[in-house]
């Protein structure tokens, strides 16, 4: 059996996730850590995805101590089926197609704000702002609340860590304020519905009707899981393009490569690095027995670099970009916002390169992520470029 306990916090993630995820892979495909087990191969992770009756999500998130049910993430069938039946159509590609012009207008405006200046920080000027605006747009909330929203969510996400700890007073205050804001907004939307997603959830009636607690849980999950993750991915896509002049040139010359670049970066750089489950009975995964009542962390970043699935597991290779990866999870809990996230990423890359085709990292910049953390994202990504002509 294992000689020493696996320590995920020792993974060297800060500058290079290849080294970080190798720390997971090298420990084995099913490995015991302190307080949790880790699944690191694609087969092992998918086994858990496909057996929600053995690997509970509802129980896994108990440890977060959320005051609200995180719907639909932290639910199991049959409740989960009921939620997704309603929510999937609201975030289907055809719905997002109808929003695309407005979403493109918004990202263009954000990029125009710095395109003539010759420098920007992708994280603060684009990546933090845009996903929040998209969320506010989707839910019919005023864009003028953007910066307040970002402050709450940033405080909450920075307060969450890999290892459970007592929340500090700042986190509790931000959670309370966000909760009160959402509560007020739900009440206002009930009284005066619009065409937005939130109004459509509130309009459900009969057996499909949601309680206020369920609606607030959905809002809370969207703000916690849907903003920081897209922020992180925008940063990572731009990081790889900024570091690799040849890749950048290829994308600018041939826009059909935008999708493949995004897929490869999504595969390599996981915003949500570990997805927890809770074993409902003794389970056997890839020949290894895991006892009932255990937290199991699906280590998707490692699974996405499985050499059995990818010829060049640790590199961006556009020729393997059409191979399925697990960055949006899988099975019944496949990321509800995956279609929207992909669209946001595509719009950012397209509109940025229309205005700023050539750029590089600011001299001396060394973009890094914090680890351990609930979400892996760059703290800063400063770029310099020839100013675009004023539009």
């Amino acid at each position: 059996m294992s000689q020493q306990v696996f320590r995920p916090e020792d993974a060297p993630m800060a500058l290079d996730r290849t080294a970080g995820w190798a720390h997971f892979r090298n420990a084995g495909e099913v490995v015991q850590g302190e307080g949790a087990w880790f699944l690191t191969s694609a087969d092992a992770v998918q086994y858990a995805h496909h057996h929600p009756e053995l690997f509970s999500s509802a129980r896994a998130f108990d440890m977060l101590g959320s005051p609200l049910p995180l719907i639909p993430l932290a639910t199991d069938p049959p409740a989960h089926v009921r939620y997704r039946r309603v929510l999937d159509p609201m975030l289907a590609p055809r719905v997002i197609n109808a929003m695309e012009d407005e979403l493109r207008r918004q990202i263009s405006e954000l990029i125009d704000a710095f395109a003539t200046s010759g420098s920007c920080d992708i994280m603060t000027d684009v990546a933090k702002l845009y996903p929040t605006q998209v969320f506010l747009t989707l839910f019919g909330m005023p864009l003028s609340d953007r910066d307040q929203f970002i402050r709450w969510v940033t405080t909450l996400n920075e307060g969450a860590s890999l290892v459970g700890s007592e929340p500090n007073p700042e986190v509790l205050q931000a959670a309370g304020e966000l909760f009160a804001y959402l509560q007020g907004f739900v009440a206002a939307k009930r009284a005066d519905p619009g065409e937005d997603m939130l109004s459509r959830v509130l309009a459900l009636s009969g057996d499909d009707e949601w309680t206020d607690e369920e609606v607030l849980g959905l809002c809370f999950l969207f703000t916690l899981a849907g903003l920081d993750t897209v922020t992180a991915s925008i940063g990572f896509v731009m990081l790889h393009l900024a570091r690799d002049a040849e890749l950048r040139r290829r994308v600018v010359t041939d826009p059909s490569l935008v999708g493949p670049v995004i897929e490869e970066v999504l595969r390599l750089e996981l915003p949500a690095p570990l997805n927890p489950r809770f074993t409902m009975e003794d389970v056997e995964v890839c020949g290894q027995r895991i006892p009932a009542g255990t937290i199991v962390q699906l280590s998707v970043g490692a699974a996405n670099r499985d050499p059995l699935r990818f010829a060049h597991p640790d590199e961006i290779d556009l020729d393997q970009a059409d191979r399925g990866h697990l960055s949006f999870g899988g099975g019944i809990h496949r990321c509800l916002g995956s279609h929207l996230a992909r669209r946001e990423l595509r719009l950012v890359v397209e509109e940025f390169h229309k205005r700023i085709p050539d750029y590089e990292m600011a001299p001396g910049a060394e973009p890094r992520v914090t680890w351990p953390a609930g979400t892996l994202h760059l703290q800063s990504l400063p770029l310099v470029f020839t100013p675009a002509a004023a539009r």
Binding site: R85, A92, R323, G324, H325, G330, H339
Partner: protein, 65 residues
């Protein structure tokens, strides 16, 4: 050649209709459906193989007609 989606595995990643719209369409939930009865028109065999490769759940399969 025919293609099929195993609905017990499909979880709506949507890669099949995004990458090979010649053979798949999206439904109102954003899940993929095969076009027609799944028969692969001559010349689209490479698309069928691509769809198999692109599905993260391994839900797309090729069968002999």
């Amino acid at each position: 050649m025919k293609i099929a989606i195993d609905v017990s595995l499909c979880s709506g990643h949507g890669r099949c209709y995004a990458l090979t719209p010649t053979l798949f369409v999206d439904d109102e939930r954003g899940f993929g459906q095969v076009r027609g009865d799944g028969t692969v028109p001559p010349g689209l065999e490479a698309d069928a193989e691509r769809a198999v490769r692109s599905c993260p759940e391994h839900a797309v399969t090729i069968t002999d007609a």
